[in-house]
Symmetry: C5
Subunit: 338 residues, 5 copies
């Protein structure tokens, strides 16, 4: 579910930062605590062995290893690659959001160009149902959540997205061509508009064209959504970044050990027992990486993923409101209040 926090930061008070930091849902603590637990477990195992389990020679060898790891820990530019990678992923995530299709304009156009109560109402309902069906089929193709909820045409029939007859036709198209059939309802909708124009219920060619253009635009958005799903950021890039972050912590779990302060190793003058700085680094870097992992595929059920099921539900209610009720009652025109 999308995490809403922005209404709390409207006034930009001095305490806003602390409000931001204390949220749990969709928070950095929630996404890193498992990694942190594993890290601390390993850290204290090693620390315990060093402090109590090694002989003098072993301790000295270990200390040299710690110094070596600490020195080279930063060979990979973790922050740098994370900066570029997260920027890329956040950019794609937002572009994806902007590709989400909304049927509202189609509903308003229908209410404008195809008003009336009889067959017009049936047509409006059917056309909007086809549009929502196209959106739903697209989302079912990319989102496991929607797929789970509406796995088959039967399930969609049961929920009122399409009729038995239409389901049979889609099944047949699918079997014949082996392609996804999300565009077929758009063909139906365009042809229904065409018939309404031919039979005079839509009174102008321009109305016809507006409706068809709007639906084709909506289809193009669905197509782009499928493109975002099938052509993601190259796996190599994701691996390079993940490798950099986790290898950093593999070396950090050794290089971050506190050494015997009596041995005067450079920069090992205090022993705080708790590796505050390493923990902070882990929360920071892994948290930053998780920003990317959450947004990489926004079609799932993460805290930050798009909520497609409620979105489909919203579409159905909204198009009904815009095309059904609103169509029949236009308020009497009144001048702008003086």
């Amino acid at each position: 579910m999308t995490v809403q926090y922005i209404h709390r930061v409207a006034s930009g008070s001095a305490l806003m930062s602390f409000y931001l930091l204390k949220r749990w849902r969709g928070s950095v603590y929630k996404v890193v605590w498992k990694d942190l637990a594993v890290y601390l477990l390993i850290y204290y195992c090693i620390s315990f062995v060093y402090r109590f389990g090694l002989g003098e020679q072993g301790r000295e060898n270990f200390e040299k290893l710690v110094l070596h790891c600490a020195r080279f820990q930063a060979v990979l530019p973790v922050s740098f690659v994370l900066g570029f990678y997260v920027t890329l992923v956040v950019g794609r995530w937002w572009e994806t959001y902007r590709c989400l299709p909304w049927p509202d304009n189609t509903a308003i156009l229908l209410a404008t160009h195809l008003p009336g109560e009889g067959v017009e109402q049936v047509e409006r309902r059917s056309i909007l149902r086809y549009v929502v069906l196209c959106i739903t089929l697209t989302l079912a193709a990319i989102s496991p959540v929607v797929k789970d909820s509406l796995p088959t045409f039967e399930a969609m029939v049961k929920r009122g997205f399409l009729t038995d007859e239409e389901a049979r036709m889609l099944e047949k198209h699918k079997a014949d061509s082996g392609q996804q059939v999300a565009w077929v309802p758009i063909v139906w909708a365009c042809r229904a508009v065409h018939r309404a124009r031919r039979e005079g219920r839509i009174t102008t060619d321009l109305g016809h064209k507006s409706l068809v253009d709007e639906m084709l635009c909506l289809r193009s958005l669905c197509g782009r959504l499928l493109g975002y799903n099938s052509h993601n950021i190259p796996l190599v890039y994701a691996q390079v970044v993940t490798l950099a972050v986790y290898s950093f912590f593999v070396f950090s779990v050794i290089g971050g050990q506190f050494l015997d302060t009596t041995k005067n190793y450079n920069s090992h003058t205090v022993d705080l027992y708790v590796p505050f700085f390493s923990i902070l680094q882990l929360v920071f870097y892994v948290g930053w990486l998780k920003v990317a992992e959450c947004l990489l595929n926004p079609f799932g059920d993460d805290d930050h993923d798009f909520e497609f099921l409620s979105m489909i539900d919203r579409h159905r209610r909204m198009v009904e409101m815009l095309s059904e009720t609103a169509a029949s009652d236009l308020p009497s025109l009144a001048p702008l209040a003086e």
Copy 2:
């Protein structure tokens, strides 16, 4: 309120930098002084304890801690993550600005395609009122300032945004569908345009189409505004950045202490009493972070937020000027002065 300073930097003189630095409203000093006060309070408490409150052993332990903190203070790439984060936030802020809907084009189109004094004037007023109402309902949904000013349909009726009849209809739609009803006035406006075309007051189909397209475009902008509001930058990202900045200063308040110069600690050869460099860092980093916090939600009442109330007022005056007065009097055509 938006901070206007740009007219003062038109000529780019050598003193421009100083003009920039001495502004207070919307300035970096205004946004960081509270943080700075807290920082200095803690800094001098610690400093006082170190200078007067600790024994020799305590002082030595404290000095080791200071050196440790100073050494690791920079483990997080604060400037780096701030650079990427602020770029992202500023980009979104400006995209949001560009999504703000303006009714001016609709008003000009109405003045062009639906001129005249009688029922045409009533229609122009009503349609523009619906358009402004749609914008107002959208802004009320995202801005607490507008919400406070126009909390209910009644308040809007009182201010002349809609009639009692229309308010009742919107209430009913809202109750029936559970959706936001900002699009309903657009349906009304489109249908009023349709009727004016059918009854011949708008003389061309293309005029009809231009008006409907313009209003749908305006609705899409409103929809995108809602999207910017509901899908903000992931909370994880905001937390990671805030955490980096504030943890930097938690360690700075210890690591930035001046130590006894007689002990020959490396890089502790002078005692200036005032931590100029730490203060500068705080103003800089916290100021940079506040840039982001101010712009993260531009719908509030920060110094940098959009001024929606005066914008709505401006829309009402502007559409009145463009559609009412201007419509009646066209100057006699005169050739371009030779």
Copy 3:
């Protein structure tokens, strides 16, 4: 005035870099020399006092201060924040350029759809005058240079931008609504187009629509220009960057002093008397900052600002050429030379 240098770098020879470096107008030397003079004055004052004015203890304290400043001089990531900030400002500058409205398309459309010599010519002239007037009023609202040249409607009447009658009408609109009136001439132009269509001088509805669309598009560009002017980069950001750069040099003027080479301070083994590296840093960083300051408000009279006055003049000549002369004489059609 815009600085033209690009034609000199067309061939990319090895000497191109030197050509670039030796330009003065709009150059980095011109923008930084004042800052550099102030810096050197202070630098040599301090240097003089250190070399001749201080006792042994004072010199030693001063040397410690120099070392302290030199060590912490780089605490702020000046280059980093400048990189992001300048990228942002240059991006906005170019977007602003792309928002500049050009009346050329309107003139061509008029020459196409409203040809002829009699009333058509008067109409073409008037409509284009309205379009140029809209652009001029917009530029006068954002550019002090245009404002100075055309401060009142009277001044515009005198220069032939509008007639006395039109000036009176604009004055009245302005007084009545309290809004800027740059859109009113667009209303006039649209209505003149509408009348020409109604009376058959424009022969097609599509011609009418093309003209109105083009003028609304032009108005939207004017509106976006006003937006770029009223909502600039947040002041906090500009202050943070300016503060970083100048505080860098405040510390540099101390930390960059040459110390007595006989005292064996680390990295103080030579005394060159002239601080080449600090000067280079100043030219570089302040020059980079000035890139941003010049472009932050491109509506003034900097070397890099847009030249609105000659642009307005160009518009008037260009629309005259495209609509007047060109309209009357179409060359006899001749086939493409074999």
Copy 4:
């Protein structure tokens, strides 16, 4: 073939990172293992010579060389230039993807405006065949894979992309003008649409215009694809980046050697035999570079390249489904389920 991994990261669990890391196809390991093998071979040859093949003086000279290389190894900002370069290449790769033309909208428009079974069906088929032919000719011009599969017009005739007559006409155009002929089928398609309009099978001018606009838009996309192919990122840039990465490893293979720990060289206190950190750097930097190399030309047969052959096949099936079957059977309109 495009690498699909995104469906596995839908839920963002804690193990997702490990799933990402263990993939082989299209993975970082697959792209770097050859480079790594060469690196290790050279590394151990040098190591072997140093440990067993050199006299005392030779060892000492070699050690100085190692220290020198290690010190200057980082003179080039490899990570920095890679960050900017990869961002650029990934951006272009995605823009290229968005330029890929899809014939779906044309098919839907034909099904809408040119329904029917007789000559209309023949026309629909021909027009869509022309559109797919234009896409195929474009892809054959940029992708060696498509070129290999469809090297000549004869091969295309055999596969049913065009008739013998059409192939002869294209051959002739090609010979006459010396230009690529991918646009010629679009001319045919536009003229076929024009004829269908003239003879009344397409009933409205707007339908005609929609079809022509859609096909011109598709042609523009094909033109942009050709532009991406002919004007790639400047060779200098690619060379600078490649040079930086490989020279880094040339110095690393010397500078990364373990030295005799008994000689107390600074930072050479342990001898791990396996250069873990250098290997990690190589995997990281070369992997990052390979991201760019894979995406630089997405028209080949890399793991990350676009699969044009199956895309062409998909176009043929999809347009058949949308224009043939769907055209004949429109479901009976049924209202939205209550």
Copy 5:
């Protein structure tokens, strides 16, 4: 001439990197070898003087200078500013490419809406000639190469771009208005389209509108090209970057000298005679800078500049093929092969 290398990197083999590195034309070696030669000449002069020409005191002073220069060589963030600057320049270069106007769509539209052999053919040829003339005049205004090839209207007449009559008219317009006249042929073309519509050769208003829109769009692209030419990246920015790179090497030529290894200067333990690392830095930084210099003005005759002459020639052939030959022979419609 544009450098084509991308077809060689289609398969992404392990040797691709080496293929990239060994190219000469448009390569980094070609652009930096002169700078490198100058650098090495100065380097070895200084080296020779140091090794053989200085007394003991002079050598010692020189060594101190070398150490001083080496220490401060990196005061300017060369890589950083180059990263941002090159990103900006490459972005502009590609935007410029995308502004290049192509007459293909106009030719296809003419073949569709104005078919036929008699006066229609003459009109098609003239209109397309005007369009190509507009493009040619624009390119001649920005590219010295095109200007050299077509310096006057006479030269264009001789090459068949326009007739004597048209040249006289353009000369007159130019003299009268003092403006560039590239838009005038577009006015002619629009008016020719208008006449063809009025006289019924173009059968629909929509065809008329499509043609006019396409030509206005093309004119806007030409206008944007002129804008890219007249408003380039601010000179200050180019100077700041060039200054940073070259001052780096001024200090490098001193600071990179090898010193007497017997004096135990830190990091001066080997004397390799050839400054490998400095050479690499120079090739890298200067090469990176040259990327920007080549792309800064893509209208010249660099290896990376656009080839306008062959582009104009291509336009003439292409529009002839699309409008002449193709118009007369439409293949008999045949169904999609089963």
